[in-house]
């Protein structure tokens, strides 16, 4: 096969500032084996020229690890929310459409502001409350099964796919969303982390846990296969117990 003239066609939804109008630009670059969407963005940044030959600016985007472990490069590619670094060009229909996530405030081009996800980790006290870092010996013994379960929740890279796909979540509304719920469950399951269980559950209740409509989109798009459905149902169960307890405590 003659690969000399083979090209890749793609388009990017651009937006230069948060309050300016978005617009689409199309590009065409030479094909090579094993390209991913990041390499397309690099090509666009190197020679910022649209496919009708007009000069443009390099499209801004976030990326760091380039191996799907940092969560930076999340965007919508051919209509699906995912990481650009593992989106292989040869597996995508062309022209490949690349756009920013829609649920987070736009910064510029493909960059969005996901600070809200880190904030919600504060609301649920997403940490193990150790006394301090003095050397006081090892942690609690943990079985291999418990470890595997914790590892699954702990591989969440705060990428935002679950929130983007959730019909109930938006960055300015009440629902805290599956990402933070799963982290609350992670720490509620830890032998030391448990001590904050009721505070975490209360935070989930205050932040719209019951708004989840069980659409299950989140689990379908999670690149790390975090058990979000399991986490939500566990959270609901913990909330039921918590409400019952505080009801009994009050009367």
């Amino acid at each position: 096969m003659n690969t000399e003239n083979k090209t890749v066609k793609f388009k990017i939804k651009r937006q230069i500032t948060p309050d300016s109008e978005p617009f689409w630009e199309e590009y065409e670059v030479p094909w090579k084996p094993s390209l991913n969407v990041i390499t397309l963005l690099m090509a666009q940044n190197t020679d910022p020229i649209t496919n009708n030959g007009s000069k443009t600016t390099p499209a801004s985007y976030d990326a760091n690890c380039l191996e799907e472990v940092c969560g930076s490069c999340t965007m919508i590619i051919n209509g699906k929310v995912r990481q650009a670094c593992t989106a292989l060009v040869d597996k995508l229909e062309q022209p490949i459409s690349i756009e920013p996530m829609t649920k987070f405030p736009i910064v510029r081009d493909l960059m969005v502001d996901r600070q809200r996800m880190f904030e919600s980790l504060k609301w649920v006290k997403g940490w193990v409350p150790i006394d301090n870092s003095s050397p006081v010996g090892k942690g609690p013994n943990i079985s291999s099964e418990e470890q595997q379960k914790a590892y699954n929740f702990s591989s969440c890279m705060t990428c935002g796919c679950c929130l983007e796909s959730c019909p109930q979540w938006s960055s300015d509304e009440a629902f805290i969303g599956p990402q933070a719920i799963a982290q609350a469950i992670l720490f509620n399951t830890h032998p030391t982390g448990k001590s904050l269980e009721s505070e975490r559950v209360q935070a989930l209740i205050n932040n719209g846990l019951n708004i989840c409509g069980n659409a299950q989109n989140c689990a379908a798009v999670c690149p790390k296969e975090v058990d979000l459905i399991g986490a939500i149902s566990e959270a609901n169960w913990q909330a039921t117990k918590h409400i019952a307890k505080s009801f009994l405590g009050k009367h």
């Binding site: 390099p58 940092c70 930076s72």
Partner: protein
């Protein structure tokens, strides 16, 4: 004193977060210190998340000892590391693992529920604690969580999406603040502070493509070098034996694959030969059968020889023996037998993270077929010179921790020792020492005259404006590609003086061309183009330090290998290389400093024999 002490930490990888956690903890009672944490990326997305294999600490159960860990580290580093700090680090390692265990890191477990260990390169002991094949991510998250807790209490202020540009020095040359830029609004601002810790990670971008992340650009460190900081052992760059290619990045296949029993091989060819330690000529395996060349050449350590050795062997098999798979520059890294013998569930529990990377990028399942791998630039043993005890650079008030400092790993780092050195230096050394310095300084940074702050801010602004206005014919990204290729071809596995000299001259030419680039975006909002050029500007200086260091070191030691000088030369080069920036010539000036070998007598490295690990202790 009514003003609070301020400490700026630049970088939120393991080293930066470790320092932030410890300092916040030290201030928890009196609330007298504020940590200002700066990072290009949200700290939870720092490069440390890439670390796969694990973290080293001696443990009692396998006959290991902290002394053995110390000896393996010094020996693996070919005796170039100052020994006292290495010993302290190895002694602290077990407590560091305990701490992470308490913070909830899901380390893999034994059947009793203890932390499991695997073997890594350069040791005969299973010493490496791990969390699947994403250990760095899990360790980083644990620190990120603790730091968030302190952030919620008001002890830590985060500046994510800010880039450190330079340090502000007072009239006595003492640090009194930093200048940083908001990468979205592009605002450049001074932050007065009583001490600074640089924890900005490795400099992989100088090679264009490496296993490093995009943010590993070296800007902070080289900017400090331009302000007078010493840079040490720059020529010691680790090339990891096992990675896969890519146009954007070279992706690591962790040493843990070999730690779990993975084997490196190429199809054998009995018509070719190699010379063993005793000078005997031996065939390169049996034709038609796999030749496990590392196992045959290094019976004691096998596939787990240190990285410098594995890398050179692979290079030799591919380029000198011309035995790469199907004549291409690859060898096999094979874990398929583990999947067959112990099952998919078993191998996934241990290595899923990396197996998925291979599968996602190569479209082949490594549980079924051997992986095709080749060496890639991975880690910098060199970095900012720091004092053995305090981790302060030669600029008063500026400390360095993590991959950006030069300590611990000598001429070659052992696998799983970096996560340890990063956490150790942030948490146990630079963090507390920065507090000590900040509390005892004569004049608090808050009293710095406004002119002093503004002067440095204006200097940085002017420089950025100058860059923004560049409109020549050169393309900054293409220039970076040229620099990366030049460095990768000439200053990695095999180094020749003639080509090093040519490389140095070419770096200077590229640097001249830099001033003819165009910045394709003249805007003032999230302008990544000007930022890219700014980083590139500093890479030339870094490339010069590395290349000149390599040129002048006429010996072979650890990762630095010169066929012209194949032996280690302790008489002349058991020395730390120190580079200082000379502004007039825009070039590094090198000098050499004695290495502390007070605890273990330097001996020849020989990984073909087990006795390698037996040591004679001084005194």
């Amino acid at each position: 004193m009514n003003k609070k002490t301020k400490i700026a930490i630049i970088g939120g990888g393991l080293a930066g977060l470790g320092a932030a956690m410890r300092i916040a903890e030290m201030s928890a009672e009196k609330k007298d210190i504020i940590v200002q944490l700066f990072s290009i990326v949200p700290v939870k997305r720092s490069h440390s998340v890439c670390a796969q294999g694990g973290i080293n600490a001696a443990n009692k159960y396998t006959g290991d000892s902290t002394y053995q860990h110390f000896d393996d580290t010094v020996y693996g580093g070919d005796f170039l590391a100052n020994q006292k700090p290495v010993q302290k680090m190895c002694d602290s390692a077990p407590d560091i693992i305990d701490l992470f265990d308490r913070m909830g890191v899901p380390f893999n477990r034994t059947s009793e529920g203890n932390i499991d260990r695997r073997r890594f390169g350069g040791t005969l002991h299973p010493r490496t604690a791990y969390s699947g094949a994403t250990t760095g991510q899990q360790l980083l998250y644990a620190l990120d969580e603790q730091v968030r807790r302190y952030e919620a209490e008001g002890l830590v202020e985060k500046y994510e999406g800010w880039e450190y540009l330079s340090t502000i020095l007072d009239e006595n040359g003492i640090c009194c603040g930093i200048v940083a830029q908001d990468l979205i609004s592009m605002e450049v601002k001074a932050f007065p502070c009583d001490a600074v810790i640089l924890a900005t990670g490795g400099p992989g971008q100088v090679y264009g493509r490496s296993t490093n992340s995009v943010s590993n650009n070296g800007l902070a460190v080289i900017s400090l070098y331009h302000q007078g900081a010493k840079y040490a052992n720059g020529e010691f760059i680790q090339v990891h034996p096992t990675a896969i290619g890519g146009d954007d990045k070279l992706r690591l296949m962790s040493e843990s694959a070999r730690g779990e029993g993975g084997r490196v091989w190429v199809p054998g060819d009995a018509s070719k030969t190699w010379i063993d330690q005793e000078g005997k000529e031996r065939p390169c395996g049996e034709t038609g059968k796999p030749w496990y060349f590392l196992e045959e050449k290094y019976p004691a350590y096998g596939n787990l020889v240190p990285r410098d050795i594995a890398t050179r062997e692979i290079f030799q098999v591919v380029y000198e023996l011309k035995m790469g798979v199907d004549g291409r520059p690859f060898v096999y890294l094979d874990v398929s037998h583990i999947a067959k013998e112990k099952g998919i569930e078993y191998i996934d529990r241990k290595l899923k993270g990396i197996l998925e990377i291979y599968e996602k990028f190569k479209g082949v399942d490594p549980r079924q077929v051997p992986m095709e791998i080749f060496p890639a630039v991975h880690y910098s043993m060199g970095g900012l010179w720091v004092d053995d005890e305090t981790h302060m650079t030669n600029i008063e008030g500026v400390f360095a921790a993590g991959e950006c400092d030069y300590q611990y790993h000598g001429a070659n780092r052992l696998g799983a020792n970096s996560l340890l050195s990063c956490v150790y230096t942030g948490l146990e050394v630079a963090g507390p020492e920065a507090v000590k310095f900040a509390k005892n300084r004569l004049k608090p940074a808050s009293e710095t005259a406004l002119e002093v702050l503004e002067k440095e801010v204006n200097k940085q602004k002017d420089f950025l404006d100058k860059l923004l206005n560049l409109s020549g014919p050169e393309n900054p990204r293409k220039l970076h590609l040229e620099l990366g290729n030049l460095m990768t071809e000439n200053v990695t596995i095999v180094r020749e003086n003639k080509s090093l000299q040519e490389t140095y001259n070419k770096i200077c030419e590229l640097e001249k061309r830099f001033w003819n680039i165009t910045i394709p975006d003249k805007g003032n909002w999230a302008n990544q183009s000007v930022r890219y050029a700014h980083q590139l500007y500093y890479l030339f200086s870094l490339a010069k330090i590395i290349t000149l260091g390599a040129l002048q070191r006429n010996e072979s030691r650890g990762a630095h290998y010169k066929p012209q000088f194949p032996e280690r030369d302790d008489d002349n080069f058991l020395k730390t290389t120190i580079a200082i920036y000379n502004e007039a010539s825009n070039a590094p000036i090198l000098s050499y400093q004695a290495v502390d070998t007070s605890l273990i007598e330097p001996r020849k490295r020989d990984y073909s024999k087990k006795s390698a690990a037996a040591t004679k202790v001084k005194n």
